[in-house]
C-alpha cells in the first residue's frame, strides 16, 4: 500500500489534461450554426500506477464517453493524454494499436461484448493474435493459464459464450483484458448487469487481480457503494464536468459538493434503523445538449443562489487533493 502511494507521487501512469469530447448535434439542413453536445467538457486528472480511480455519476454525465476517450476508442475533440510520459494523442494507427496492449477495457454487458460465434479460447486469444507472434501452443498455454486465474474451468476452452452465465461471461471479458498484462484497465460498469451474489464474486476477482498484477483501474459505475468498496480515489461527474474529486475517505466522510451529498443520500440503504438526512433532488438531469448556464448543477441544487446561474465555479483544491467545483464549499471548509 505504501509503495503504491510513493510511486503515485513520482510520475503518474496516466495524465489527462483538459480532455473534451463534443459531439456535433443535429442542426437544420440550412442552418449554419453548429450545436454541440458537450459529453466531456474539460476534464483533468491523474491515475497512478496500480491505483483505482472510481468514476461515478448518473446516466448521461459523460463517464463512459470519458473512459472511451481516454483509450481513444472514440477520438477526443481536444485535450492531452499522457501515458507513461508519452503523448498518447500523437500516436498514429500502428503505434496506437501497439500501445493498446498496455490499456484494456471491460464492458458492462457481457452478453453484447463477446462474439457469439467464437469459442472462449478464440475470444481470449484475440489480443494475443493482434499483439504477439506466439505459436499456437504458446497461446493455448497462456490462455489456459489466464482462464484459471479468472476462475474459469479450462475445460470450457472450446465452448461458446451462450453456454455461460452472466458472471462467467464477465470473467471471459476480464480474461481477455488481462492476458497481455496491461497497466491500465477501464472497467465500464462491469458489474451492473449482474445479480448481487455474482457481483460480489466479480468485484473480489478484480481486486485480487489488481493485487497480483498491479494494474490501475479506471472504474466507472453509477453505484456509489461499489465505487466506495473498490476505489482509492473517486471522481464525481455531472453533465460532462468533474464536480468533485478526492481520496475515497475524504469524499465519503467529508463530502463537499451538494451533488455528491444528494447522490449519497439517495442510495437506499439495506438496513432499517439508520437515521440519516435525506436530500431528494427536484427534477431530472438537464439535457447535455442544452446545459444550464453557470454552474451546471444549479437547476437541481438545494443551495443554489444568484451567482450559480451566472458563473461557473472552478474546480478548487481544498487540500489533500480534495477538489470541488462549487461556489459555496469554500465557506464550508473554513467553518
Amino acid at each position: 500500500m505504501e509503495n503504491k502511494k510513493e510511486e503515485t507521487k513520482k510520475v503518474p501512469l496516466l495524465q489527462v489534461r483538459n480532455l473534451k469530447k463534443w459531439f456535433p448535434s443535429k442542426s437544420g439542413v440550412f442552418s449554419r450554426k453548429k450545436a454541440y453536445i458537450k459529453a466531456v467538457n474539460d476534464i483533468s486528472f491523474d491515475v497512478g500506477y496500480g491505483e483505482t480511480i472510481g468514476i461515478v455519476g448518473e446516466s448521461g454525465c459523460g463517464k463512459s464517453t470519458m473512459g472511451r476517450s481516454v483509450l481513444r476508442l472514440i477520438e477526443p475533440t481536444s485535450g492531452e493524454i499522457i501515458f507513461e510520459g508519452k503523448d498518447f494523442m500523437k500516436l498514429k494507427d500502428a503505434e496506437l494499436r501497439k500501445s493498446r496492449s498496455e490499456m484494456q477495457i471491460i464492458f458492462q454487458d457481457p452478453y453484447a461484448s463477446l462474439d457469439p460465434r467464437m469459442t472462449v479460447g478464440e475470444i481470449i486469444a484475440e489480443p494475443l493474435d493482434i499483439q504477439t507472434n506466439l505459436s499456437k501452443e504458446e497461446k493455448r498455454e497462456k490462455i489456459l493459464k489466464v482462464m484459471e486465474v479468472v476462475g474459469l474451468n479450462p475445460k470450457y476452452y472450446n465452448r461458446y459464450p451462450h453456454e455461460f452465465s452472466g458472471g462467467q461471461r464477465q470473467r471471459i471479458g476480464i480474461a481477455r483484458a488481462i492476458i497481455l498484462g496491461p497497466k491500465l484497465i477501464v472497467c465500464d460498469e462491469p458489474v451492473s448487469a449482474l445479480d448481487v451474489s455474482v457481483q460480489a464474486q466479480v468485484i473480489n476477482l478484480l481486486k485480487k487481480l489488481q493485487k497480483d498484477m498491479g494494474m490501475a483501474y479506471l472504474f466507472i459505475s453509477h453505484d456509489l457503494s461499489v465505487i466506495k468498496h473498490i476505489s482509492d480515489r473517486v471522481i464525481v461527474m455531472y453533465l460532462g464536468n468533474i464536480v468533485e474529486i478526492a481520496d475515497k475517505d475524504d469524499l465519503y466522510n467529508n463530502t463537499l459538493h451538494p451533488y455528491t451529498k444528494a447522490l449519497l443520500s439517495s442510495i437506499p440503504i439495506a438496513a432499517r434503523n439508520v437515521k440519516r438526512e435525506k436530500i431528494i433532488m427536484e427534477g431530472d438531469l438537464p439535457s447535455p445538449a442544452n446545459p444550464p448556464s453557470g454552474c451546471v448543477f444549479h437547476t437541481r441544487c438545494y443551495m443554489a443562489q444568484d451567482i450559480c446561474s451566472k458563473e461557473a465555479p472552478k474546480l478548487v483544491d481544498y487540500g489533500n487533493g480534495h477538489k470541488c467545483a462549487c461556489h459555496f464549499c469554500k465557506n464550508k471548509v473554513t467553518e
Binding site: D195, V196, A200, A270, R272, I280
Partner: protein, 329 residues
C-alpha cells in the same frame, strides 16, 4: 387485526418448454394486508416476476400455465374468473407498473391519450372531457410539472423518471386497491429512484392502496416494505416483517444476500460472497435448492427439500432450524 386484501395459496406456475417443465413458481403462499407494502426480493430467475404476472393472469400461455393454487381476492378466487371478468379486475382493482417505462408505453400515442384510454375502458359512463380532466389531475398527483403541456406529449419526449411517473399515473387512474410494482426503479438513476420511491410511499398513504414491490435491491425493500418475502428458485425461503428480517435474517440465502452487497457504512477488504450460482431448471438439486451454495449445508440438505416452517412468528425454509440438522455432524 388487519385484514388481507389478497391471499395467494400454494401458487404453482410452470412453463412447459422443449418437453421439460420449468417450475418457475412452485408452491408460493403469501398475503398482502390492506394498506401495507409487501416486498418480494430475489435474484433473476427466482420467480418473483412470474408470481406477479400470475396474479394479473398476464402470463404468456403457452408455454406458461398456472397449474395449481388459489389467488383469493376479496373472498373470490381469481383463477376461476373468466377472461372478461379478469379484464375488469385488471386496472380497476389491481394495477401493475413495469421496470422499463419506455417499452410499456405506446410510442405513437401521447401520454394523455393513453391515460384517457385506460379511463374510458375501465370507468363506465365517463365522458371524454371528464376523462381528460381526470388524466390531468392524475399527472398532477404524480407531480409532473406542467401537466397540461405534458398531456399532449409523446413518451419519447419524457425522461425515464417522468415516464415512470406517467405509468404510475395510469396505474392509479382507476383507484386500484392493489398496485404491483415490478422493479419500478431498476432502470432509473439513484436520485430519480429516490423520487419515485417517495412518490409511491406518498400515494399509498393518500389512496390507501396496498403495494406489492418486486425488486432485487434490499435497499429498496428497507426503504418501502412492511413485510418481506425472499424467493429462491421458485420457492419462498423466508417471510417476515421488514424490521426483523434486517435485524436478524434467518435463511442462509438471506444472510448471504445482505452480506454480499458493498455498504456505505462499513469498510471491508473483501466482500463476502455466495459461492456458485443459481442452479438451472434442468439441474435442480434433489434436496434444498440452495444447498450447493450454502455454507451450512449438511447431508440432510442434499437429500430433502426443507418445509417452510414457522419460527419466532416468522417463516423460514431451512433445515438449520430442525432437530435433525442439529443432531447431524
Amino acid at each position: 387485526m388487519s385484514e388481507n386484501l389478497i391471499e395467494v395459496k400454494d401458487l404453482r406456475t410452470y412453463f412447459f418448454i422443449d418437453g421439460g417443465v420449468v417450475k418457475a413458481v412452485d408452491g408460493v403462499s403469501f398475503n398482502v394486508e390492506r394498506g401495507k407494502t409487501l416486498g418480494i426480493v430475489g435474484e433473476s430467475g427466482c420467480g418473483k416476476s412470474i408470481t406477479s404476472l400470475s396474479i394479473m393472469q398476464l402470463l404468456e400461455s403457452p408455454p406458461g400455465k398456472i397449474v395449481g393454487g388459489e389467488i383469493i381476492y376479496n373472498g373470490e378466487n381469481l383463477l376461476n374468473k373468466t377472461k372478461e371478468e379478469m379484464r375488469h379486475i385488471r386496472g380497476n382493482k389491481i394495477a401493475m407498473i413495469f421496470q422499463e417505462p419506455m417499452t410499456s408505453l405506446n410510442p405513437v400515442f401521447t401520454v394523455g391519450q393513453q391515460i384517457v384510454e385506460a379511463l374510458l375502458i375501465h370507468e363506465e359512463g365517463i365522458t371524454k372531457e371528464k376523462a381528460k380532466e381526470r388524466a390531468i389531475e392524475m399527472l398532477k398527483l404524480v407531480k409532473i410539472p406542467l401537466p397540461e403541456k405534458r398531456f399532449n406529449e409523446y413518451p419519447h419526449q419524457l425522461s425515464g423518471g417522468m415516464r415512470q411517473r406517467v405509468m404510475i399515473a395510469m396505474a392509479l387512474s382507476c383507484n386500484p386497491e392493489l398496485l404491483i410494482c415490478d422493479e419500478p426503479t431498476t432502470a432509473l438513476d439513484v436520485t430519480i429512484q429516490a423520487q419515485i420511491l417517495e412518490l409511491i410511499n406518498e400515494l399509498k398513504e393518500k389512496t390507501g392502496a396496498s403495494v406489492m414491490m418486486i425488486t432485487h435491491d434490499l435497499g429498496v425493500i428497507a426503504e418501502i416494505a412492511d413485510d418481506v418475502m425472499v424467493m429462491y428458485a421458485g420457492k419462498v425461503v423466508e417471510q417476515a416483517d421488514t424490521d426483523s428480517i434486517f435485524e436478524k435474517p434467518l435463511h442462509p440465502y438471506t444472510i448471504g444476500l445482505m452480506n454480499c452487497i458493498p455498504k456505505l457504512t462499513e469498510e471491508v477488504e473483501e466482500l463476502s460472497v455466495i459461492k456458485g450460482m443459481v442452479p438451472s431448471y434442468d439441474d435442480m438439486p434433489k434436496g434444498c435448492a440452495f444447498c450447493p451454495r450454502c455454507d451450512y449445508a449438511k447431508k440432510i440438505c442434499e437429500e430433502e427439500m426443507p418445509e417452510l416452517i414457522e419460527l419466532e412468528g416468522r417463516k423460514v425454509r431451512c433445515h438449520m432450524y430442525s432437530e435433525k440438522w442439529k443432531e447431524e455432524n
